[in-house]
């Protein structure tokens, strides 16, 4: 359980807005979106790590870094002890086989002109997972695995419902027998009743295949349900990470507290004690100095405006990046 397969250290990533001529004239650099500002995270074998946070905080960017769609500016990612961005490592496509990603939009992640059968057999044959002759039978197995009818092999993505498409995406990822699955908002685009089906499938497969899963989502209840551990991201930085039950029942970072309390309860009479944050979301174009959350934080002190809090272990909790974590978690 505690054997890390993936070790993410302090990665930073910026998106460079194109430098306009005016920038040039004024001798200033182009606009920079600071999507990740030093994220460190370990992924343990066989666990599900949930990642939550507001829109635009960098969840997808992190996921995409892990599958090498983006290369971080600083920091490193080690998989099985090997640096995945080391020189020459990129040519090694086996990493892409072992670490798979599933995307939020089930429709756009499938080539609309390839049938399910083609999509799956392409994955199998490119990575030579099976001899040519056995590919057809393996496709059938995979369809079975994700509980799609056999006639699905001959159909195009648009002939499926959203949940089914997501299952095709899962089957494609599983085709190459990966060890790690990155699920970026896998079920967000689906309806509640369908969400449950896909989540069930994922949980079941994880048990059967001993998969490691990074589960990015914004539905807090869902993350809580599927994850062993959870990381909370705010403005490209992990503010809290810890055991799922502990973190949800007892968040330590003021932002985690606000986030969790904002989710409306299903009970009409439980009006909750939602913590209302003031102010607008700061944009990653303009990350505030010091603790990035201090602008909206009730507990902020002058010190928070200057010093960036490090992620540190809190006894009995997970790790928190807050100068005042102790008091805050007391009050909560």
């Amino acid at each position: 359980m505690t054997q890390p397969v993936m070790d993410i250290k302090d990665i930073e990533l910026e998106f460079q807005g194109s430098r306009t001529l005016i920038d040039f004239v004024k001798q200033r650099p182009g606009r920079v979106v600071r999507a990740l500002n030093g994220v460190s995270l370990q992924l343990n074998k066989g666990e599900t790590l949930g990642v939550v946070g507001e829109s635009g905080c960098g969840k997808s960017t992190l996921a995409r870094c892990i599958v090498r769609l983006y290369e971080p500016k600083r920091g490193s990612i080690h998989f099985d002890g090997k640096d995945i961005f080391a020189a020459g490592a990129k040519a090694d496509r086996s990493y892409n086989r072992r670490v798979q990603m599933m995307f939020q939009d089930p429709y756009s992640s499938l080539n609309p002109r390839m049938t399910t059968g083609q999509i799956l057999s392409e994955a199998l044959s490119v990575h030579k997972m099976r001899p040519e002759g056995e590919i057809a039978s393996r496709v059938a197995e995979l369809l079975d695995l994700v509980r799609l009818p056999q006639d699905a092999a001959g159909k195009l993505p648009h002939e499926f419902s959203g949940g089914q498409r997501q299952r095709i995406a899962i089957a494609r990822a599983l085709a190459v027998e990966p060890e790690v699955l990155i699920a970026d908002e896998l079920v967000s685009a689906l309806d509640v009743s369908v969400q449950a089906q896909v989540v069930n499938l994922l949980l079941e497969l994880q048990d059967r295949l001993n998969l490691t899963i990074l589960f990015v989502a914004h539905d807090l209840r869902l993350v809580r349900h599927v994850s062993n551990r959870v990381a909370v991201i705010y403005l490209g930085r992990i503010v809290e990470v810890g055991d799922s039950e502990t973190l949800f029942s007892n968040p330590s970072h003021p932002y985690s507290q606000a986030l969790l309390s904002a989710a409306p309860s299903l009970d009409p009479d439980d009006k909750g004690s939602a913590i209302r944050l003031q102010g607008e979301l700061p944009s990653p174009l303009n990350v505030p100095p010091g603790c990035p959350f201090h602008v909206r934080c009730r507990h902020a002190t002058d010190f928070c405006k200057i010093e960036v809090p490090e992620l540190r272990a809190l006894p009995g909790r997970g790790e928190v990046a807050c100068h005042h974590a102790e008091e805050v978690s007391e009050n909560a």
């Binding site: 599958v67 090498r68 995307f103 756009s108 392409e122």
Partner: protein, 288 residues
């Protein structure tokens, strides 16, 4: 659990076949019909033309339409109908040859540039700017003037200039398609760039190119006949609509049929390609 059986029985979204939907559009049908007939005339003009298109008859010049010569005869006594029909071969060939190479080059360059971006894309941007700042016809005429008049040179000229338009379109579409996750999914799956570009992106990005191609074929016929009219295109006595109109223009008041018939042929074919293009746009769109 209940869901295993239930899931496999899940209804997939019923879908009318796209052909069926397209066939319901009268525009598409008319377009397909016109182009079908044109293709037939182009492939087998001899079967349909009543006379040898180049047979000069000194005594039967500029005869008005009659049963013997439904479109009349021209100033050399040649049968106009036969000439219009034989011109189908040249003009349809023009539609295809003047565009197909430009399209191929444009599609490949556009796809590569759109996929890789970077320096190549910047260079490409300048080339596009430079080419589109010239009026198309001016550039084509200059190139034809360099290479010498004639059909082959005209194709070369149009290709040299025309690929840019395809490449621009393709590039934009590839970039748009890159916004879809399936391209990213290909990378994540560890597929080679070539596979992603040509197997995944290209088939999806090519629809607008094909639709544009249809219009472009119509434009190629117009352009070709404009050049024929200016004497830079088809070689006489080769019957070509632009040349036929040019030949007949002096007689527009006295022997109107000489320019009218090829004029109608151009308009009809152009219309056919445009209608077909509009129809294909619907047909090729992945969702119904």
């Amino acid at each position: 659990m209940t869901d295993i059986t239930a899931l496999s029985a899940e209804a997939t979204i019923p879908q009318k076949t796209r052909i069926e939907l397209a066939l319901r559009k009268p525009g598409f049908l008319v377009g397909a019909f016109i182009i079908g007939v044109s293709a037939m005339l182009a492939l087998m003009p001899g079967v349909f033309a009543p006379y040898d298109p180049n047979l000069i008859d000194y005594v039967a010049v500029k005869q008005a339409p009659s049963w013997a010569h439904p479109f009349g005869t021209d100033m050399l006594g040649r049968d106009s109908l036969s000439r219009v029909i034989f011109a189908y071969t040249v003009n349809m060939q023009m539609a295809i040859l003047a565009t197909v190479f430009a399209m191929t080059i444009g599609v490949i360059v556009g796809a590569l540039v759109g996929y890789y971006r970077g320096v190549a894309d910047m260079v490409f941007g300048r080339v596009v700017d430079a080419v589109i700042t010239f009026p198309f016809l001016v550039l084509v005429i200059s190139v034809v003037a360099v290479l010498g008049p004639g059909l082959i040179n005209m194709y070369i000229a149009i290709t040299l200039v025309g690929w840019v338009y395809y490449a621009r379109l393709m590039r934009a579409e590839v970039i748009a398609q890159m916004g879809n996750d399936y391209a990213g999914a290909g990378i994540v799956m560890g597929y080679s760039d070539r596979r992603i570009i040509f197997r995944h992106l290209l088939p999806n990005a090519i629809t607008p190119v094909i639709v544009y191609w249809m219009t472009d074929m119509a434009l190629a016929i117009l352009l070709g006949s404009s050049l024929g009219y200016l004497g830079l295109g088809a070689q006489p006595p080769q019957a070509e609509w632009g040349v036929l109109i040019a030949e007949g223009r002096n007689f527009i008041t006295t022997a109107w049929w000489l320019s009218l018939m090829p004029g109608i042929a151009i308009v009809l074919t152009g219309l056919g390609f445009s209608l077909l293009g509009d129809g294909l746009a619907d047909l090729l769109r992945p969702r119904g």
